[in-house]
């Protein structure tokens, strides 16, 4: 019946490609588009949180910590509600990770606090006996790169239409205004809960140590990024 087609291998190959490509498009694309949309009520990361996310990447937290809670009872008991793909809509890139030497962090903001992270980053085994996580003392002295984080926010706002407010605009002037009115107060709030005097002094001077940005990011993982749930 199809000998006329089988005799023409090139057009046969083209036909096979078209059929499979069409099936793939109508099956995969709608689901993909639906799942990639942000979950209702999800807000994008603030600039300070973005700076923390950069430190998370830079210090390679992803090598030991995942950010994806699978729908298994054992996992939801320990880490909370399973993850949805729309929750990563503002993660560029997402930091799912594939190795759990330490626990999952996708909802760590729901059950850990600023004070805890401060103690833990200074000396993990003192907080969690037997922990093999190294100390991250340099975060208390290194300064966070807020400029790059701000540039990232401007970029994703312009390129991907991420819903940032009007105060995220290109230019040094807009950055300084945003830094003074939004980033610094957010950092001050976190520093107020911390004990380390050097960090408090730095924030009072208008500098932001990495640990502050890092804690802002870790606290944002969980319900605090949902306007509706709060």
């Amino acid at each position: 019946m199809f000998h006329w087609l089988e005799k023409r291998p090139f057009f046969f190959a083209v036909g096979v490609f078209l059929v499979i490509a069409f099936a793939g498009l109508i099956e995969i694309l709608p689901n993909f588009a639906e799942a990639a949309r942000p979950v209702e009520g999800l807000r994008p990361y603030t600039v300070l949180e973005l700076a923390g996310k950069e430190i998370y990447k830079k210090d390679n937290c992803i090598a030991c910590h995942s950010q994806l809670i699978r729908p298994f009872k054992a996992e939801t008991d320990r880490y909370g509600q399973y993850s949805l793909s729309g929750e990563y809509a503002y993660d560029r890139p997402f930091l799912w990770g594939s190795k759990r030497t330490g626990p999952d962090l996708h909802r760590v903001g729901n059950y850990r606090t600023t004070e805890w992270h401060e103690n833990h980053m200074l000396n993990p085994p003192a907080v969690v006996p037997g922990s093999i996580m190294p100390a991250y003392k340099h975060m208390f002295t290194n300064k966070a790169d807020i400029e790059t984080a701000y540039a990232e926010a401007v970029t994703v706002k312009n390129v991907f239409n991420t819903p940032y407010g009007d105060d995220i605009q290109p230019g040094k002037e807009a950055f300084e205004k945003h830094f003074k009115s939004v980033v610094l107060p957010e950092a001050q709030k976190i520093a107020a809960d911390m004990k380390n005097q050097d960090v408090k002094d730095a924030v009072a001077k208008g500098e932001i140590p990495e640990i502050v940005a890092m804690i802002a990011y870790l606290n944002s993982l969980g319900d605090s990024r949902y306007a509706a749930k709060k």
């Binding site: 009872k73 399973y82 606090t113 805890w116």
Partner: protein
């Protein structure tokens, strides 16, 4: 043909002898049925592979092609016209019928989903858990409380419950002196008790010191006169007037409930709320365990 069968038998024999030699060499205990079965399996595989290869090798040597050739050929290589085997045809029809059912009724209601499996598993487990521990005795609750404590609470409060060098509330006693003073000076309104907010400055100076020392000392000895200011809400015994205000003498069930539901920020730091993570039975167990730490 006969030579081939001879070779196949020889090959199988070599494999069988090799298997037996290995079993003897490694001193494998054949009275264990698993080991015995494994050895029989190895021998069966040896015999089968020898037999199957002999069959196909002989087929390649003797078989000739038959049937009607299709019209076209590719560089002299032709193709026979073969009917679709009946089994294939029926399974093909079967998949078409299944696809119709799946499109019309199967998807999404009867389709598999990971989330659906999670829902079902969690629901079944929770029902079983509720039924099993509805009337749990004290020992069971305490044991359950300890495991929950080690997972959810120990990261801050320490594995022994002593607050891990002042990083969190110390469960071996109810309150320390500086905690009582901080509450008196700053007030407190985070736990959602019916009595409402406690205003700052209910007592001051030496009165506050006396109250703090008395409460931190476990409410023993003579009650300072200034405690009257506290007693109006917290009760003369400090036990919170039957759940109207926080119990400042011991960890009771209402205090546990209000703290887990609301979380709290005190002078030590902030504790997040645990309202979605801990079920009522688990809360009861946790209360039982935390009470056992201060006794």
């Amino acid at each position: 043909m006969n030579a081939l069968i001879g070779k196949a038998l020889a090959f199988a024999a070599v494999l069988i002898v090799a298997t037996i030699v290995v079993v003897k060499q490694m001193n494998i205990d054949l009275s264990d049925p698993i080991n015995l079965l494994t050895m029989i399996g190895a021998i069966a595989i040896a015999v089968l592979s020898a037999g199957v290869s002999a069959k196909y090798i002989s087929q390649m040597k003797t078989d000739t092609a038959s049937g009607e050739l299709a019209e076209e050929n590719w560089d002299g290589i032709g193709e026979y016209k073969n009917e679709l085997p009946a089994g294939w045809a029926y399974s093909f029809l079967g998949t078409i019928i299944w696809a119709l059912w799946y499109w019309q009724f199967g998807y999404p209601v009867n389709a598999y989903s990971q989330i659906g499996e999670w829902n079902q598993e969690t629901k079944e487990y929770n029902q079983k858990f509720e039924a099993m521990h509805k009337n749990a005795d004290k020992a069971t609750l305490q044991q359950m409380g300890e495991s929950i404590y080690l997972v959810q609470c120990a990261p801050c409060h320490g594995t022994t419950g002593d607050g891990n060098n002042g990083q969190a509330q110390d469960f071996t006693k109810r309150m320390a002196k500086d905690q009582v003073l901080a509450v008196i000076n700053n007030g407190q309104n985070q736990l959602g008790y019916p009595m409402g907010a406690m205003p700052p400055g209910m007592a001051s100076g030496k009165d506050a010191e006396d109250i703090a020392a008395y409460v931190a000392g476990g409410m023993k000895g003579e009650q300072p006169a200034a405690f009257a200011a506290c007693a109006s809400c917290h009760g003369a015994d400090g036990k919170g007037n039957g759940g109207m205000a926080p119990n400042i003498a011991e960890y009771d069930a209402t205090l546990m409930n209000h703290t887990l539901q609301n979380g709290k920020k005190g002078i030590i730091g902030r504790m997040p709320a645990f309202k979605t993570t801990i079920t009522p039975i688990q809360e009861k167990a946790l209360t039982e365990y935390i009470q056992s730490l201060s006794n």
